[in-house]
C-alpha cells in the first residue's frame, strides 16, 4: 500500500540529487578547512598575554619593544636556494656570498609550500598561514587580503611602509603603503624593465629617513626562468644585478647605523624556486627551497660558510612581527627563528617565545576541539609555568648561574612546545576528514550500484516500496548500526570531522533517511534480480553492433583512464579519440545501411554509381549521399576545432589557431570568421523559431558582434584596424603576449609535467589571479603602456544582447506553458517543441555572447553537427534513446575541451563574469562563468532534450530513458573518481592534478543534475497528459 510510484526520470533525478549531496559531503571531507581563527579579526596589542609574573605588575602585558629599527625586505621572485648558496651564488652573487660567509648574517633554506605560485606565497610570507588549495580557488575574486597580516599590523602601529615591485602586493594591500609603485607581470618576455622600474626608486628612497619598512619585489628572475630556464645565460647577469642591489642596500643601511639607535635588518628571500625547466607551482625540491638571508649588525659575524639550516617560509612572519614589536598575526602557524634573537637578554627571548607560543596555542584552541590532548599545548602550559617561576627568581634579583641554567631549560621547553604546536597545526592542514569522505564515498557507490539495474530496465515508472523498507528489520538494524558507528567515531576521533560537528538531531535524521534509502534500493534491486537473470535466456540472440561496442568500450575506457594523472591532464585527447572512433563507427553503420539495402535491390549496380549525377537526381539518392557525408563532415569539423584551442599540458604550448587569430595582425581574419560563424549560427538556429524570435535572434547576434567590436576583438568593416589595435583587450591574459611567451617556452624542451603542480598553465594561473583582481579593483584607473583601460568595455552592447536573450527565453517559456495548458493533441505538441527550441536558441545566443570571438566557430560547428546528425543520422538510422544519449554526452564532453577548457583550474575564463557588468557582482559572475565553461555539455544536453521531445511519435519512453542514461553516464565516472581519489589521497599529484579534476567532476555532476531537472520537467507534463 505504501508504494511510491515515480516516473523513471524523476527517480533518476532523485538519485542524481542524492549523489550531488554525497559528493558535496565528500568534498567537505577531502579539502582540508584552512586553519583560521576568523577572517577579519586581527590581533591586538591589548590581547597579548602578560609576562608570567607571580605578582601582577603594573606594565605586565606591555608588548616588548622592537628589536630592529628599519626593515628592508628584498623579495626576488623565483630565487632558488642554489642561486645563493650553490655554485651560481658563488659565481654571480659574490657580495651576498661574502656577507653570508663572513658578515653578520643568518642564512636559512626556507621551505615554501605548494602551490608555489607568487600570490599564495606572498600571503604566506605576510600572514604566516598556509593557504590551502581551496583558498586558492576561493580567492580568485577577492583582491585585498582581509586576513590578519604583518603589513596591516605594521600600518596599524604607525609604521611607514614603502613598496616597489610586483603589483600583486598593491592589490593585496590597498592603501597600506605610504609610497608604492607596482609593476605588472603581464609581459613575461620583459625581464629588464620590470626590475628597472623598482631599482629607479632605490637610491632616492635609501637616502631618505621617513620610512620604517621597505619592500622590494623583483620579477625579472622569474621571467627569465619562464623564458629560458634556470641554466640560461640570462640568469647570471640577473643574479649579479640582484647582488649589486643587496650591496647597495646593505651599504646604505650600514651608513645610517648610529650609536644609540636600534640596528636595521635586511631580509633577502625568494617567494618560490623554479624547476629545471623554469616553471613553478608544484612541490618538487627546486621549487620549494628558497634562500632566506637575514643581514643585520645585531647578529654575530660568521666565521665561514655554514650549511644553512632549514625552516619553513611561514616562520619569517612571526619573526619579523616580533622583531618590529608587533603582535603576531592571528592565523600564523610559523614559529620565530631563535637565531635572530640570540643576542638579546634571556628575559626578552623568553618573552618572545611566550608570545609566539600564546598565539599558536590560541590558534590551536580555535581549530582543534581536542586541543587539550595535543602534546604541544601541554608542553606550552608547562613551559609557561616554569617561565613564571624563572621570572620570580629573576625579579628577586637572583643572578646566579642557577638562573641562567634554568632559563635555558625554559627556553628549550618553549622551543619544543612551539615546534609541536606548529607541526600539529600544519598537519591539520594536510589531514583528510576520513569519516566524511568515506561516508560520502560509500553512499555514492551504493547509490550507483543499486540504482543501475533500474536504469538498465526500460520501464516508464519505478515503484519504490516505502512500506516494505520502513517496517523491515534491516532498516532498524541499519539505523542502529549507523548511530552506533557515529557515536563511536565521534568519541574516538576527537571531533575533527565535519559530521561530528553537526547537531545530533540532524545527524540522526540523516542516518534514518539514508538507511531508508538503502533499504528501498536493496528491495528494488532484489526484485529486479530474478527478472534480470531471466532476460538473457530470452534474448540470447541479442548481439551488440559495432557501434554499441564502441560506446561501451569508450565509456568504460574513459572511466578507467581517470586513474592516470597523465590521462586526466590530457583528457581532451581521450574524448577526441573516442569521438573520432564513434564517427567512424557511425560512418560504417551508414555505409552498411545504404549499401546493403541497395545490394538487396540490385546486385550489380551498387558500385557503378559513383558519379555525382545521382546526387542531383532523385531525393533518395541525395539523401544517401548526404547521410554518407555527415560523419565525414563531423570528422572534419572536429579536426579543425581541435587545432583551434590546444589544452592539456604536454601540447598546450604548441601554437594553435586561436592564438594566431587573436594576434593583432590577424584581426581581419578573426572578424571575418566571427561574422561568418554568427551568420551560420543564425541560419542553423532560426528554422524552428517563430518570427518574433527570429528577429530577436538576428538583432541579438548583431549585438554580439558589436559587443566584440566594442571590446576590441573584432573590427567593423568601416573601422580602421589601427584604432582598434590600440584598445586593450579584456582578454589580455590570453592575448598575444602570452602566445609570445608560450612560443618561447616551447623553444625549450617541452615543459615536464612530472612534478610541477600547475606547471603547464601555471603562468596562466598567475595571470588569472592578476586578471581577476585587476578587473575588480583597478578597472577604472589602470593604465598599461599608456593605453587607457577607461572605456565602456561594451557594457551597453552586452546588455542589449541580454535583453534579447531574455526576450527569446520568455517567448519560449510562454510557449511551453501554453502547450501545457492546451489539451493534448498535435497542436500542443508542436507548440511545446517550438517553445523548447526557442529556449534553446536563447541559450545559444547567450553562449554566443559569452564565447570569445575566436571560439564562435566552435559554437557554429556545434550547431552544424547537431543539425546534420539529427537530420541524417539519428532519425534515419533509428538509433534508440540510449545510443543517442551516449553520443550526445560524448559530443558534449568533446566540445567542453574544444572550447579550450582543461582539467586545470587555470583555464577557467573568469573574464566572462564581467560581460555586461560594470563591476564585479558575485552571483551573475559565477553563473555566467559556469555557463560559459560548461557551454559544450549544456548545449548538447539541451539538444538531446529538444531532439527526444520532437521524436514523440516514436517510443514514448524516449525522454525518460534518455534522462536516465544521461544521469548514469555522469554518475559512473563521478563515482569511480570519488573512489579513486580516496585511494590516491597520498599521491604526489593529488593537489596538482587530481583535486582540480575532482572539482570539475563535482561541478559537472551539479550541472547534469540541473539538466536532468529540465528533462524531468518535460517528461512530467507529458506523462501527466497521457
Amino acid at each position: 500500500m505504501f508504494i511510491m510510484r515515480l516516473s523513471s526520470s524523476v527517480f533518476a533525478l532523485l538519485c542524481l540529487m542524492c549523489e550531488v549531496l554525497c559528493i558535496a559531503l565528500f568534498l567537505r571531507g577531502f579539502f582540508p578547512v584552512p586553519v583560521k581563527s576568523s577572517v577579519s579579526s586581527k590581533s591586538k596589542v591589548s590581547d597579548l598575554p602578560p609576562e608570567p609574573l607571580t605578582g601582577s605588575g603594573t606594565n605586565a602585558s606591555e608588548s616588548p619593544g622592537p628589536v630592529f629599527r628599519r626593515v628592508v625586505i628584498l623579495l626576488v621572485d623565483a630565487l632558488r636556494e642554489d642561486f645563493v648558496f650553490g655554485s651560481d651564488g658563488l659565481r654571480f652573487m659574490p657580495y651576498t656570498r661574502q656577507v653570508v660567509e663572513r658578515g653578520s648574517s643568518h642564512s636559512f633554506i626556507a621551505k615554501a609550500r605548494a602551490p608555489t605560485v607568487t600570490m599564495p606565497r606572498i600571503k604566506a610570507l605576510t600572514t604566516g598561514s598556509i593557504p590551502g588549495f581551496i583558498d586558492v580557488v576561493m580567492n580568485l575574486n577577492s583582491p585585498a587580503l582581509l586576513e590578519d597580516n604583518l603589513i596591516w599590523q605594521a600600518k596599524n602601529a604607525g609604521k611607514r611602509i614603502i613598496f616597489y615591485g610586483d603589483d600583486t602586493w598593491v592589490r593585496l594591500f590597498p592603501k597600506h603603503f605610504m609610497e608604492q609603485d607596482g609593476t605588472t607581470s603581464f609581459f613575461v618576455s620583459d625581464y629588464t624593465e620590470v626590475d628597472n622600474n623598482v631599482t629607479r626608486h632605490l637610491d632616492d628612497t635609501l637616502k631618505r629617513d621617513d620610512w620604517d619598512i621597505l619592500i622590494l619585489h623583483y620579477l625579472g628572475l622569474d621571467h627569465i626562468g619562464h623564458i629560458s630556464g634556470p641554466h640560461s645565460s640570462l640568469i647570471g647577469p640577473k643574479l649579479t644585478e640582484m647582488d649589486d642591489i643587496v650591496k647597495k642596500i646593505h651599504a646604505a643601511l650600514i651608513s645610517k647605523e648610529s650609536e644609540g639607535t636600534l640596528p636595521n635588518l635586511l631580509v633577502l628571500c625568494g617567494d618560490h624556486g623554479m624547476t629545471e625547466t623554469g616553471s613553478h607551482g608544484g612541490s618538487s625540491d627546486p621549487e620549494i627551497n628558497t634562500p632566506l638571508v637575514l643581514i643585520s649588525p645585531a647578529f654575530r659575524r660568521k666565521g665561514g660558510f655554514e650549511v644553512p639550516g632549514v625552516l619553513e617560509q611561514v616562520d619569517l612572519a612571526p619573526t619579523l612581527a616580533l622583531g618590529q614589536g608587533l603582535p603576531i598575526s592571528k592565523n600564523s602557524v610559523g614559529r620565530l627563528i631563535p637565531a635572530v634573537f640570540e643576542d638579546l637578554s634571556l628575559r626578552d627571548r623568553l618573552r618572545f617565545l611566550q608570545l609566539n607560543g600564546h598565539q599558536l596555542s590560541c590558534l590551536l584552541e580555535d581549530n582543534n576541539p581536542s586541543f587539550h590532548k595535543e602534546d604541544g599545548y601541554e608542553l606550552f602550559r608547562v613551559a609557561e609555568k616554569s617561565h613564571g617561576s624563572w621570572m620570580k627568581l629573576y625579579m628577586d634579583g637572583n643572578t646566579s648561574e642557577v638562573l641562567g641554567n634554568m632559563g635555558k631549560k625554559v627556553l628549550k621547553q618553549y622551543l619544543e612546545a612551539l615546534k609541536a604546536m606548529s607541526s600539529a597545526l600544519s598537519k591539520q592542514l594536510g589531514k583528510y576528514d576520513m569519516y566524511s569522505m568515506i561516508m560520502g564515498m560509500i553512499l555514492v557507490l551504493i547509490l550507483l550500484l543499486l540504482a543501475m539495474p533500474e536504469a538498465l530496465s526500460r520501464e516508464a515508472a519505478v515503484d519504490i516500496p516505502l512500506a516494505a523498507s520502513l517496517f523491515s528489520l534491516p532498516f532498524y538494524l541499519l539505523c542502529l548500526l549507523g548511530s552506533a558507528l557515529h557515536v563511536l567515531i565521534c568519541t574516538s576521533a576527537g571531533g575533527l570531522c565535519y559530521l561530528c560537528s553537526l547537531p545530533w538531531v540532524l545527524v540522526f535524521t540523516l542516518i534514518i533517511l539514508s538507511s531508508a534509502l538503502m533499504c528501498a534500493l536493496v528491495t528494488m534491486a532484489a526484485r529486479r534480480m530474478p527478472t534480470s537473470t531471466k532476460t538473457p535466456t530470452k534474448g540470447s540472440g541479442w548481439t551488440l553492433s559495432e557501434l554499441d561496442v564502441v560506446l561501451l568500450v569508450g565509456t568504460v575506457g574513459h572511466t578507467l583512464s581517470l586513474s592516470s594523472s597523465s590521462f586526466i591532464e590530457e583528457e581532451h585527447q581521450t574524448w577526441f579519440f573516442l569521438l573520432n572512433t564513434l564517427c567512424l563507427a557511425v560512418f560504417q553503420d551508414v555505409c552498411r545501411k545504404y549499401f546493403r539495402e541497395q545490394e538487396e535491390g540490385g546486385e550489380e549496380e551498387s558500385f557503378s554509381s559513383f558519379s555525382p549525377a545521382v546526387e542531383l537526381g532523385m531525393s533518395a539518392g541525395s539523401e544517401k549521399w548526404l547521410a554518407l557525408a555527415t560523419p565525414l563532415l563531423t570528422l572534419t569539423c572536429c579536426r579543425l576545432l581541435r587545432s583551434l584551442n590546444h589544452t592539456g599540458v604536454q601540447w598546450a604550448h604548441l601554437p594553435d589557431f586561436g592564438h594566431w587569430l587573436n594576434s593583432a595582425d590577424h584581426k581581419m581574419f578573426l572578424s571575418l570568421l566571427a561574422a561568418l560563424s554568427l551568420a551560420l549560427i543564425f541560419l542553423l538556429i532560426q528554422r524552428h523559431c517563430s518570427l518574433v524570435s527570429k528577429i530577436a535572434l538576428s538583432l541579438g547576434l548583431l549585438g554580439v558582434y558589436s559587443y566584440r567590436a566594442a571590446v576590441g576583438n573584432v573590427l567593423f568593416p568601416w573601422q580602421h584596424s589601427s584604432r582598434a589595435v590600440s584598445k586593450l583587450e579584456v582578454e589580455r591574459w590570453d592575448g598575444e603576449f602570452l602566445t609570445g611567451e608560450r612560443r618561447e617556452e616551447s623553444a625549450m624542451t617541452r615543459p615536464r609535467r612530472a612534478d610541477a603542480a600547475f606547471s603547464g598553465s601555471q603562468r596562466r594561473l598567475n595571470l588569472l589571479f592578476a586578471e581577476a583582481s585587476a578587473e575588480v579593483t583597478e578597472k577604472n584607473y589602470r593604465c598599461l603602456e599608456g593605453v587607457s583601460f577607461c572605456q565602456s568595455g561594451g557594457t551597453v552592447e552586452a546588455r542589449f544582447v541580454y535583453v534579447f536573450v531574455l526576450g527569446i527565453l520568455f517567448t519560449g517559456v510562454k510557449d511551453l506553458l501554453r502547450a501545457q495548458l492546451t489539451s493534448s493533441g498535435g497542436d500542443g505538441g508542436r507548440l511545446k517543441s517550438r517553445g523548447l527550441w526557442e529556449v534553446y536558441s536563447g541559450v545559444v545566443l547567450l553562449v554566443a555572447l559569452l564565447f570569445r570571438a575566436h571560439n564562435l566557430p566552435t559554437l557554429a560547428c556545434c550547431l552544424l553537427i547537431q543539425t546534420v546528425m539529427a537530420q541524417f543520422i539519428w532519425k534515419r538510422l533509428h538509433y534508440d534513446a540510449a545510443q543517442t544519449t551516449i553520443m550526445h554526452y560524448w559530443f558534449g564532453q568533446a566540445f567542453f575541451y574544444f572550447q579550450g577548457n582543461s582539467n586545470n583550474i587555470g583555464t577557467v575564463d573568469i573574464s566572462v563574469g564581467f560581460v555586461g557588468l560594470e563591476s564585479y557582482v558575485e552571483a551573475p559572475a559565477v553563473i555566467l562563468t559556469a555557463l560559459s565553461t560548461y557551454a559544450g555539455p549544456l548545449l548538447w544536453a539541451f539538444h538531446l532534450l529538444c531532439y527526444l521531445t520532437s521524436q514523440r511519435h516514436r517510443a514514448v519512453m524516449g525522454l525518460g530513458h534518455g534522462s536516465y542514461c544521461f544521469a548514469l553516464l555522469r554518475s559512473i565516472p563521478a563515482v569511480f573518481y570519488v573512489v579513486l581519489v580516496t585511494g590516491l589521497r597520498y599521491h604526489l599529484f593529488i593537489w596538482s592534478v587530481f583535486s582540480p579534476k575532482l572539482l570539475y567532476e563535482a561541478m559537472h555532476t551539479l550541472i547534469t543534475t540541473a539538466v536532468c531537472l529540465c528533462f524531468t520537467f518535460m517528461d512530467q507534463d507529458r506523462s501527466g497528459r497521457l
Binding site: 591532464e569 579519440f577 573520432n580 552498411r592 558500385f607 592539456g648
Partner: protein
C-alpha cells in the same frame, strides 16, 4: 578438407609472421646502429616490404587468388595497375583517417604516411592478394556474415586485429613516461604490427575452434 585448408592457412600465416621477425633481425645484422626506435622508418619499410613480398609470393604459390575469366596479358596488366591504384588509395585513406584522429597535418606527414603504408600492407594488400581488385567482394567480406571461405574469415580477423592494434597503440602517447616508443608514430606502428601478428596467430585457432559453426556457402 577443412583441416587441410586450416593447416595450409596456419603455415602461410607462420611464414608471414616469420618474415616480420626476419625483417626486424636481418637489417640489424647488416646495418649499423639499426634499432626499432632509433631508425624507425627503416624498420617500418623493411617490415612492410617483407610482408608485402611474402604475402604476394605465398598467395601466388597457393593459388588463393580468385579465378579470372580472361587470361590475356592486357587484362593482367590492367589488374596489376588497378591493384597498385587501390593500394595507393588505401594509403591515402589511412593517412586521412590518421590525420583526422589528430596527427599533425604537416610536421610529421612522412611518418604519418609511413604508418598508412604499413596499415595498407597489413590490410589492403592481403585483400588484394586474396580477393583481387574487386571492391564488391571486399564489401561482401567485411559485411556481417559475408565470409565465403576460410580465407575470408582469416582476412576479417587479421584486418580487424591490425586496426585495433594501431588504435590501441595510440593510447600510451599522452602518458608522460618519456619512453622512445611513445614518440609518434612508433607506438601505433608497433601496435599495428602486434595486432597483425596476433591476428595471424588467432585466425587459424579461431577457425579451428569454430569450424562447426562456420557454414560457408559453397561457391
Amino acid at each position: 578438407m577443412w583441416d587441410v585448408e586450416i593447416r595450409g592457412m596456419a603455415s602461410a600465416h607462420a611464414i608471414v609472421a616469420s618474415s616480420i621477425f626476419l625483417a626486424t633481425v636481418i637489417p640489424a645484422v647488416f646495418l649499423e646502429n639499426f634499432s626499432v626506435y632509433g631508425s624507425h622508418m627503416v624498420w617500418l619499410y623493411s617490415v612492410a616490404g617483407s610482408v608485402a613480398v611474402v604475402n604476394i609470393a605465398v598467395f601466388w604459390l597457393l593459388g588463393i587468388s580468385p579465378p579470372t575469366k580472361k587470361n590475356t596479358l592486357s587484362f593482367k596488366i590492367n589488374r596489376l595497375f588497378r591493384s597498385c591504384l587501390y593500394f595507393l588509395l588505401s594509403c591515402l585513406f589511412y593517412h586521412t583517417v590518421v590525420v583526422l584522429y589528430g596527427a599533425p597535418l604537416l610536421e610529421t606527414a612522412l611518418d604519418t604516411f609511413s604508418l598508412a603504408v604499413l596499415l595498407s600492407t597489413f590490410t589492403t594488400l592481403r585483400c588484394l592478394c586474396i580477393l583481387g581488385p574487386n571492391i564488391q567482394a571486399w564489401i561482401r567480406v567485411f559485411s556481417r556474415d559475408g565470409a565465403l571461405s576460410v580465407w575470408d574469415t582469416s582476412l576479417q580477423i587479421t584486418t580487424g586485429c591490425s586496426l585495433v592494434g594501431a588504435w590501441l597503440g595510440a593510447f600510451p602517447i599522452p602518458l608522460d613516461w618519456d619512453r622512445p616508443w611513445q614518440v609518434w608514430p612508433v607506438s601505433c606502428t608497433l601496435g599495428a604490427t602486434a595486432g597483425f601478428l596476433t591476428g595471424l596467430l588467432v585466425a587459424p585457432v579461431w577457425i579451428h575452434w569454430h569450424r562447426k559453426l562456420l557454414t560457408y556457402k559453397l561457391k
